[in-house]
């Protein structure tokens, strides 16, 4: 099993590269998810506020 992961003398370079690739894409995924959630929540909160205002006026 271990020899499967053995990249000759290039272990460090190959595995760090793969790590950089996966980490970067995961970071992008997390950031876009949190951004979308934040925006939706913000809009929802604003809507609730305007609704309350309207009901208060009546």
């Amino acid at each position: 099993m271990m020899e499967l992961f053995d990249m000759g003398k290039y272990d460090f370079y190959v595995w760090t590269s793969i790590g950089v690739f996966i980490f970067a894409l995961l970071a992008d995924f997390v950031s876009l998810k949190s951004q979308s959630k934040k925006i939706k929540r913000l809009i929802h909160a604003k809507q609730l506020k305007t609704q309350q205002k309207h009901s208060g006026d009546n």
């Binding site: 290039y10 950089v20 970067a24 876009l32 809507q47």
Partner: protein, 257 residues
């Protein structure tokens, strides 16, 4: 033919763009993950070892797809920028700005993995060869588009049009920069070992297959990331419109059930 025209018109209006592309996200992400897993396992464990570069060449399976994407995405930004600039299409604005973070990210991945490949091949992490240098300048162009947009963020429409202008200027200059950098390296140093050309490019199908699979995987992830950010962008900039209210109501009630 009619259906294509109709589709084109629908993609131009924010509500239908949102409604249509919302269903594309999950399949795109699924394809990206499956293909990445397949490509990486195939490339790292099953592709044959290169007789000149040994196992270090396996960095190609992340480096080259990322490099392709970094340039491809800038081209899309430029095209979306032209549409934004000339026709002031809101969806083009959203697509353009949604491309910037993922494009910059692929540029950074290309630079970092290139450095990690350079160390065993050139004996140094950084070499001012034509590819590395122009990739670095490409990163500056991405930062420029991002910078001008965030400087005008209170006024998103103006910000988007100025960012589009910056992107177009960059697109016009990119060939000149590229040419000058290639020319500059060709006179100042002997040709260093090219990362791609170590063994005259890749000819073996067992090496090519994972590379192509990874190229597809990054394309699908790009589409996922771009669409998802473009949707957020449209929600944010159109937050006072009726369709956004309906979308939010529907999605939040969907979450609770």
């Amino acid at each position: 033919m009619n259906r294509i025209v109709k589709f084109y018109h629908e993609m131009g209006s924010p509500p239908s763009f949102y409604r249509i592309t919302r269903h594309w996200l999950k399949p795109m992400l699924f394809l990206a993950i499956v293909l990445t897993l397949y490509g990486l396992i195939d490339g790292l464990f099953f592709a044959p070892t290169d007789y000149q570069q040994g196992d270090s060449y396996r960095i190609i399976f992340v480096h080259v797809p990322a490099a392709w994407m970094s340039m491809f995405i800038y081209a899309i930004i430029g095209i979306a920028g032209i549409i934004t600039f000339v026709w002031r299409m809101k969806v083009a604005e959203a697509v353009m700005m949604a491309c910037v973070p993922i494009g910059a990210l692929f540029t950074v991945i290309t630079l970092l993995t290139g450095m990690l490949w350079g160390k065993p091949m050139w004996g140094t992490y950084w070499d001012w060869d034509a590819r590395m240098t122009s990739e670095l300048i490409l990163l500056f162009l991405y930062i420029g588009v991002m910078g001008i947009y965030s400087a005008y963020e209170e006024d998103p429409r103006k910000a988007a049009r100025l960012a589009a202008l910056v992107a177009i200027i960059g697109l016009v200059n990119l060939p000149i920069i590229r040419y000058s950098v290639v020319w500059w390296t060709s006179i100042h140093q002997g040709s260093s070992i090219s990362l791609m050309g170590g063994s005259n490019g890749i000819k073996d199908w067992d090496m090519l297959r994972p590379l192509l699979v990874m190229a597809l995987a990054t394309k699908f992830y790009f589409i996922y990331s771009m669409l998802s950010r473009a949707q957020s962008y449209l929600l944010k900039t159109e937050s006072k419109k009726q369709w956004v209210k309906q979308v939010i109501k529907k999605e939040l009630s969907g979450d609770q059930s």
